[in-house]
């Protein structure tokens, strides 16, 4: 049972809050990867050598798919460059990662 003499504290909340986010749905998917250009984008995080294996694997899995490996100019955490975006916008789909 609580001691009646025990003082009480009204305390303020120490936490921040997140901003309002306007979100959007995903882009429509492709019917097939055959005849499409798929960019495998290496964002340089850690064990990135494995990213180099994805494009040949994808080509083998989908004959006729133009899978291209592309390492971004700078490492993970640095914004993509105009050159990076030119490459990205020239493709039909993208696989991105840095295996980390």
């Amino acid at each position: 049972m609580k001691d009646k003499m025990e003082p009480e504290f009204t305390v303020l909340d120490p936490r921040s809050y997140e901003p309002v986010v306007e979100y959007q749905g995903l882009s429509p998917r492709l019917d097939t990867l055959k005849g499409k250009k798929v960019l495998v984008l290496n964002l340089h995080g850690g064990n990135e050598e494995i990213m180099e294996t994805i494009a040949p694997d994808l080509k083998a899995a989908v004959p006729g798919c133009d899978a291209i490996y592309y390492p971004t100019k700078y490492c993970f955490g640095v914004p993509l460059t105009e050159e990076d975006w030119d490459k990205i916008l020239d493709c039909d789909a993208a696989i991105l990662g840095h295996n980390y």
């Binding site: 609580k2 025990e6 003082p7 009480e8 504290f9 009204t10 305390v11 303020l12 909340d13 120490p14 936490r15 921040s16 809050y17 997140e18 901003p19 309002v20 986010v21 306007e22 979100y23 959007q24 749905g25 995903l26 882009s27 429509p28 998917r29 492709l30 019917d31 097939t32 990867l33 798929v38 340089h44 995080g45 850690g46 064990n47 990135e48 494995i50 990213m51 294996t53 994805i54 694997d57 994808l58 083998a60 899995a61 989908v62 100019k73 700078y74 490492c75 955490g77 990205i88 916008l89 493709c91 039909d92 789909a93 993208a94 696989i95 991105l96 990662g97 840095h98 295996n99 980390y100």
Partner: protein, 444 residues
């Protein structure tokens, strides 16, 4: 990419923390339903062949109604008043539901694990008197690991009260808040945060810059460090095991101390272009370490008298062992700094920075065999030359294997600090480059 109409899939480590970061990051960027293929968190993996059907599905399988949906997401905001209760009930509330992850914890929800000073309306109002800034002024927190978070000067004051700070420390707390406080890193063993205060406020609030300046016990140093930790948790949303994935953690988590003004060199506020009457906060984030000088022995030094204050030979031997090229820290007691001026002729910090930069080198051959060099700096030539660096760049790539090139980015990335008690001692270590500088006076 998704926002520009390109169907995309993310390859992600099948690790709770990494998955959490990726999902949270895409949520904040307005693509909450990003498709992901989870691969084993195993850096020795050499093939993802068996995951090809998943990559193909992610790019071709029609979208669900949920994945097509667009809209506005308003995250819930915590109330201004948290609760009313006894001292123990307040502590229990802030400790919250102890959170575990598969590989760590438990962690307290809103504290560093210890009881806090109850942040009552009165205590917070008193803390706010330490600054002329409005309690409603917005301060943004967050970064690449934890996303953006919004706080106010009042929220910073709440955390400062909880940490045990006094109102006259508050401008320093606000400057720490401006740096982003103690937030997390994606995964390493010793990434941390360290701060040094230079200028009159250090004396005004009684910070320790002398004997045992790294040791708990001084009210200002200790409570400011704690405020940094609490702000990281509550305002920057540092969550160990989720967006702070340090495998061992670090001893430098908001470590803060003051420069010793008995330095024979220019004071650090002057060094960074401020006036001696101005107070600044120097902030380092990343791989922070300070090592005792005894860790480095050089053959030409045989006596304690020669060994204790170190020598340029010691400094070069020590700093050559650092694996990160971004920067270094060298810290002297005032007596040792004076001896280095007298015995070795380093009359300014700049002379010492240049000496270290010129003489801590790697061979070109060592550079190009370094894993981090090749994985992170494939365009090192362009990158470094853009930054005006004389470190390894594309010109150096044509040099013979045994040619020596500087190890650090620039002389400015080697920071010289004077702190500590009387007598000779020096420490050395690594950092992620030159510190970021924040005005404390702007927060008075």
């Amino acid at each position: 990419m998704e926002k520009k109409g390109i169907p995309s899939v993310l390859e992600t480590f099948d690790d709770e923390g990494i998955k959490g970061i990726a999902t949270e990051s895409f949520m904040q960027q307005g693509i909450p339903e990003i498709r992901q293929v989870f691969t084993p968190p195993d850096t020795s993996l050499t093939s993802l062949t068996k995951y090809m059907p998943q990559f193909i599905d992610a790019l071709t399988k029609p979208l669900t109604d949920k994945e097509k949906k667009s809209g506005i997401y308003s995250p819930p905001r915590p109330p201004r008043i948290a609760m009313t209760g006894s001292y123990n009930e307040v502590q229990k509330y802030f400790e919250g539901k102890l959170r575990r992850t598969p590989h760590g914890g438990p962690w307290a929800e809103m504290t560093d694990g210890l009881p806090v000073t109850p942040p009552t309306e009165e205590a917070v109002a008193e803390m706010l008197k330490g600054s002329s800034h409005s309690p409603d002024e917005i301060i943004e927190f967050g970064g690449w690991m934890s996303g953006k978070h919004i706080a106010t000067v009042e929220k910073v004051a709440v955390n400062a009260v909880m940490a045990g700070c006094k109102p006259d420390y508050f401008p320093v707390v606000l400057a720490i808040a401006e740096t982003g406080a103690c937030v997390g890193y994606p995964g390493d063993s010793s990434f941390g945060h360290m701060f040094v205060v230079s200028g009159p406020i250090a004396r005004e609030i009684g910070m320790n810059s002398g004997f045992s300046f790294l040791t708990p016990g001084n009210p200002a140093n200790t409570s400011l460090q704690r405020a940094c930790t609490l702000m990281g948790i509550n305002l920057g949303k540092c969550r160990h095991g989720i967006n702070c994935l340090e495998r061992t953690g670090t001893m430098y988590w908001g470590t803060i101390f003051a420069e010793n003004e008995e330095s024979p060199w220019e004071l650090l506020n002057e060094h960074f272009g401020y006036k001696t009457e101005e107070s600044i906060l120097m902030a380092w984030g990343g791989k922070i370490q300070l090592n005792p000088f005894q860790n480095i022995e050089v053959k030409s030094v045989e006596t304690l008298k020669d060994n204790q204050p170190g020598s340029p030979e010691h400094a070069l031997a020590a700093l050559s062992t650092i694996t990160n090229e971004n920067g270094a820290l060298v810290l002297f007691t005032p007596d040792t700094a004076r001896l280095w001026v007298k015995e070795y002729g380093f009359k300014t910090m700049k002379q010492l920075q240049d000496y270290v930069w010129d003489n801590v080198t790697r061979t070109r051959g060592e550079w190009v065999r370094n894993y981090w060099f090749w994985s992170h700096h494939r365009d090192v030539g362009i990158r470094q030359r853009e930054r005006g660096s004389r470190m390894l760049n594309s010109d150096h790539l044509d040099l013979p294997d045994d040619a020596l090139v500087p190890m650090f980015n620039s002389p400015e990335d080697i920071t010289i600090i004077v702190a500590g008690g009387s007598g000779d001692a020096w420490t050395w270590g690594g950092s992620f480059g030159k510190p970021r500088i924040y005005s404390i006076d702007k927060w008075r």
